[in-house]
Point group: C2
Chain length 351, copies 2
């Protein structure tokens, strides 16, 4: 038996323990886009520097990553960056307006073959430096999450050229040109493997893959198109030994295929029942989510009811990380976030 | 036993028979937005008249409704109009740019109370006239579908003021102002009841309610917010005796609540498994859907495979109406639509 002192020294931070489905003193919580426009201190920095400049400045990126940690009792931190940062590193010309706009959308095999393989230390050194600085600035009990976009999500932006409501161009392209699409997705998988590995080398303690546009695909297309490159990435990271989180946005209809992925945590949007997902994904998987960002606009007593519904949905047992079901909205009151974090801790500690 | 001749005379059109879960000689098919921009003959008319003018001109609205029926062996027709037409009739100032933009978004109880109840014969006579003209121009075996937007979908546009990616304004409003929201939703339900009844009086033989933005809500919000006004509408139409179709777009997570609705047909988007939905909705319900509009960009042999997947998903038995899982895209080749319609008929007649 270990002494209480030793226990304290070696205990995993709550967030990492929950990723491993270990019992925890309270349900950990962090919030997608927690470093962002709803915070006045973030807006103060953004009033002076553009979005691209912010992602490319290690000191400022670390600073905005740390801002919500200073304000709230959050259990994890996620590096401030953008899923398109490594794409720029691969030689793709893009700007934010405010969504990513690609100079020349990728539509030919030649363009795919010309994409440079990513060499993170050369191509995105500022991002790795931001990870290092952030880790150095974080308290020991708050792990740092690194992240990347899923190949299909990156593909959607690269082929579309600009964000669109239905992403009809990349969806049609994936059907009309399955070979070129598969090659592009595979190349993106290779790039994301080295990108995520470099983040762990720089200090990231968990990794998250954002399947932000997976919900554009029906289940059989998800399986044929989006899933293979994700599998490749997960295989390419397994030896790192850090928890892998897969955010399957609006993929509730594809959970049976997601269940085949060897990830530690599946993140879910607010339209997908956590309890229903757990039945399909099995007890060996932790689940992250999924309060509707809209519920942060409820009166305080109602917000508690909505949080209670999330807890009721997932049910008892270890392996739940509380989060929103999507990124927090810029109009959100930071005081509501403070109330949310405290209530999640209080309610789950009692339970 | 009836004679073959009598049988032919009295047999329901295939589409209406499928709505009633009766055995049919082939699976009927129609296509959401079948009167639309993918047809050169539609674009020819739109090059001369604006969208609003087209919805307000009975002759032209009937003409574009009939265009796809002349070209393809479709089993049903849907009146060309827009879900916001009755909202204009209620005194709301709006224009299309190209989505609906509301002059003064509805955010107060006073604005809700000031909304005029709809009197279809006075407020939207052109729409009812278009239904009459279209019915007169259709072959007897092609039924005409009338339609309306669901209260929550109309609410989303009215509160947002303009289309947006996440509709964060109406989603936050629904949480922050539940009483005003419920009143608005109820008032919209009343208006849609008289609107849909008037369409049947004018000649519509089936009615469809578009829950286009239902997928913005998680299951418990769907139940609390979107479902009650839909129930009210369905109760207000039952005595008409025409089939009711509820298009539950991206509501796959809310099917257990949709199962409580007394509708004849549930339409599903391409992310929701038809077979999975049938298990939840029960055999007494016909199902409409759900080919991904992106699949119309597949090579011909692949398109057949995708159609086969839809048939495999729904399984054997009566009560399937083939459709896309969402509106057809303007970039679609009309020849592909012809191949789709013929293949659906051919394959289901063989089976």
């Amino acid at each position: 038996m270990s002494s209480p002192a030793l226990k304290t020294e070696t205990a995993l931070p709550t967030f990492l323990a929950a990723c491993r489905r270990q019992p925890v003193a309270h349900t950990p919580i962090w919030i997608m886009r927690q470093a962002g426009r709803y915070l006045p201190e973030y807006r103060a920095i953004r009033s002076k520097v553009g979005f691209t400049e912010l992602t490319r400045s290690p000191e400022l990126a670390a600073e905005v990553t740390l801002q919500p940690i200073r304000r709230f009792a959050l259990d994890a931190s996620i590096i401030f960056s953008d899923i398109m940062v490594p794409i720029e590193g691969m030689g793709v010309d893009l700007e934010y307006a405010p969504g990513p706009v690609i100079g020349t959308p990728i539509r030919t095999l030649k363009q795919v073959e010309e994409l440079r393989p990513l060499v993170p230390e050369q191509d995105v050194p500022f991002m790795l430096e931001a990870v290092k600085l952030t880790r150095a600035g974080l308290p020991a009990h708050v792990p740092l999450i690194g992240f990347a976009g899923s190949p299909f999500t990156l593909f959607s932006y690269l082929v579309a050229g600009k964000p669109s409501k239905e992403f009809s161009v990349p969806r049609a392209f994936a059907q009309a040109e399955p070979e070129i699409s598969a090659r592009l997705l595979d190349k993106l998988a290779d790039a994301m493997i080295v990108y995520l590995r470099a983040q762990v080398n720089a200090g990231a303690q968990a990794l998250m893959l954002f399947e932000s546009w997976g919900g554009l695909l029906g289940p059989s297309d998800y399986k044929r198109i989006a899933l293979p490159p994700v599998k490749k990435i997960i295989e390419g990271l397994k030896d790192l030994g850090v928890p892998l989180i897969y955010f399957a946005n609006q993929c509730g209809g594809s959970l049976e295929y997601i269940a085949t992925l060897d990830v530690d945590v599946v993140g879910l949007d607010w339209r997908t029942s956590l309890g229903g997902a757990r039945e399909i994904l099995g007890p060996q998987r932790a689940i992250q989510g999924n309060l509707d960002p809209a519920h942060l606009f409820s009166p305080p007593a109602e917000l508690k009811k909505r949080v209670d519904e999330v807890f009721t949905d997932i049910g008892p047992g270890p392996g739940h990380i509380f989060n929103l079901g999507h990124g927090i909205w810029p109009e959100t009151d930071p005081d509501t976030v403070a109330r949310l974090v405290d209530y999640v801790h209080e309610r789950s500690a009692k339970a």
